[in-house]
């Protein structure tokens, strides 16, 4: 495993915080979107887009690029902000999110947005689609890796576990699943709506290598992604404990903020809290 220098971790942490501001601004301006699950995933998406993935903004269709499937497509405000900042499209275009005729749909659309590898938004599909991409790579003798970010509520979908069984049958070590385990879903706490415990044991039982981390800690995210790359013969699941609404005190751990935009006052307060970076 590579040692990640302090400077890199700090730089990525700063980007993650900037993306939170971008994403929240987008949700505020559009008066629609999903703040909770976008803010929880910022370190993970930042680590992937700005460090881990072998991608080239100038060649979004590059055959050998690593693939990233945001299976929890409702967190797309953060993905769009990340892709824009990484150079896949102009940052001004973020203002057009959800506008008729624009390239940024309410959920990711692979046909419209450069850098979006798969159309998502209906929960549960990412792992099986990722498995298909890995199988294609084997047939075509290509060496890309596939990363799939799922939500924890999403782990209630049957098709997700079907995909997991298929990935482990074919020993798809090229596949890394990251669970944004923020413990809250649309209607309330995950453990009340439909308990998942033990989530780590579930992935183990499905023959995945498992790594459990704090998914809002950039160094832990980077280390886990490195470890996953070294695992042979089986896919990896990184169970990343995160805080829903991370970085905005009144949004943290609140199901109410799963899918509602902030009003003027709330937005002003959120921005001032997010700008108070570095965090305590």
């Amino acid at each position: 495993m590579t040692y990640h220098p302090e400077r890199l971790v700090r730089e990525l942490d700063e980007i993650a915080q900037e993306l939170r501001l971008d994403a929240l601004g987008m949700i505020y301006r559009r008066k629609a979107g999903h703040p909770g699950g976008s803010l929880s995933a910022s370190e993970i998406i930042t680590a992937l887009i700005f460090h881990q993935l072998k991608i080239d903004p100038k060649r979004p269709d590059w055959e050998e690029r690593d693939r990233f499937i945001l299976s929890k497509g409702h967190a797309c405000s953060l993905l769009y902000a990340a892709l824009a900042r990484r150079g896949f499209f102009p940052r001004e275009e973020l203002q057009t999110w959800g506008h008729i005729g624009g390239r940024l749909q309410g959920h990711p659309d692979r046909l419209k947005t450069p850098g979006v590898d798969m159309t998502t938004g209906m929960e549960g599909h990412g792992i099986a689609v990722g498995a298909g991409l890995c199988l294609a790579a084997r047939i075509k003798n290509l060496s890309y890796d596939v990363y799939v970010l799922v939500g924890d509520g999403e782990c209630q979908c049957g098709v997700l576990w079907e995909g997991a069984m298929i990935a482990s049958k074919y020993r798809l070590s090229e596949l890394t699943v990251i669970v944004d385990h923020n413990h809250v879903q649309l209607d309330g706490p995950v453990h009340e709506i439909l308990p998942l415990d033990s989530l780590v044991d579930k992935w183990k039982a499905f023959n995945f290598a498992t790594i459990e981390i704090n998914g809002n800690n950039m160094r832990e995210v980077l280390d886990a992604l490195d470890m996953a790359k070294e695992i042979r013969n089986k896919p990896t699941a990184i169970i990343a404990h995160t805080t829903k609404g991370r970085g905005v005190s009144f949004m943290e751990n609140k199901a109410a903020w799963h899918g509602r935009p902030p009003n003027d006052e709330e937005f002003a307060q959120a921005v001032s809290e997010l700008r108070r970076f570095p965090k305590q």
């Binding site: 294609a136 047939i139 079907e162 298929i166």
Partner: protein, 313 residues
Amino acid sequence: MKKMSIRKAYGQALADYGAENPDVAVVVADVSSSVQTGFFAEKFPERFFNVGITEQAMVDVAAGLALGGMIPFANTFAVLFLRAAEQIRTCVAYANTNVKLVGSYSGLSNFKDGPTHHVECDIAVMRSMPNMTVVEVADAVEARKMVPAVAEHEGPVYLRVSRTEVPVLFDEGYEVKIGKAAVLRDGSDVALIASGVMVSRCLEAAEKLAKEGIDAYVVDMSTIKPLDAELVWKLAAETGALVTAEDHSIIGGLGGAVAEALGAKCPAVLERIGVRDTFTETSLNYEELLDHYGMSVKDIVEAAQRAVKRKDQ
């Protein structure tokens, strides 16, 4: 007339085409021996994936294979694709991935397993999805020729394959073209427009009608979407009386598609043969089951007679 298995012809064609095109991959949900993907599996094990009883994930895996540049054929019983309707809509139709869905054991052709395994609404579901092309094959020759046509057609396709054996209707010179119907018999009084196993029944019906002085066109409408509407309009203008016949509900399938086309441009008398908005029953025999649910040759003949009579009213 010699009968040949449609599903076996499909399976063999898939293996033959797999040899020509290294991008073809096959996924199947634990029904390989039924839907005849074994020929392909034997020749190309590295491109064959049996994913167990995971129809939803199978569709997603196929979408992933397509994203990776393959041309995946995803196979299961037609009725079981309904389980994956959302996957098909989101990851195949909307994402416009180059996935080929092969719904085998179509209609009532799995007579012995009963209504759970029959399917009367798959065409209606698939046809209403944007980006989706829907085709059904009428005999073994068409099945064989349809495989390369489907593979080389860019975009999502739903291919409907019957479990049964039917008389061979086409000769080797037949050229399948997606979007183009085949006129198997010329007529003047009425046009019988059919898909799948009902095509050969319509040919039989046309012979009987001829004896009564009714001259019937017989058309194999192998592409149900996009419908060969030009031909439908031409036949409507020429005969004024159409009969559709399909092993599917009269709602939303071929009959529905033809009715929509007629309503849009060239209204004509239309009689629809198919499952009449009902669930079906188990049977010892496919032919009897079709007869029992109003899809007999006699039913087609009577529908044609009614149509001819109605246009004169």
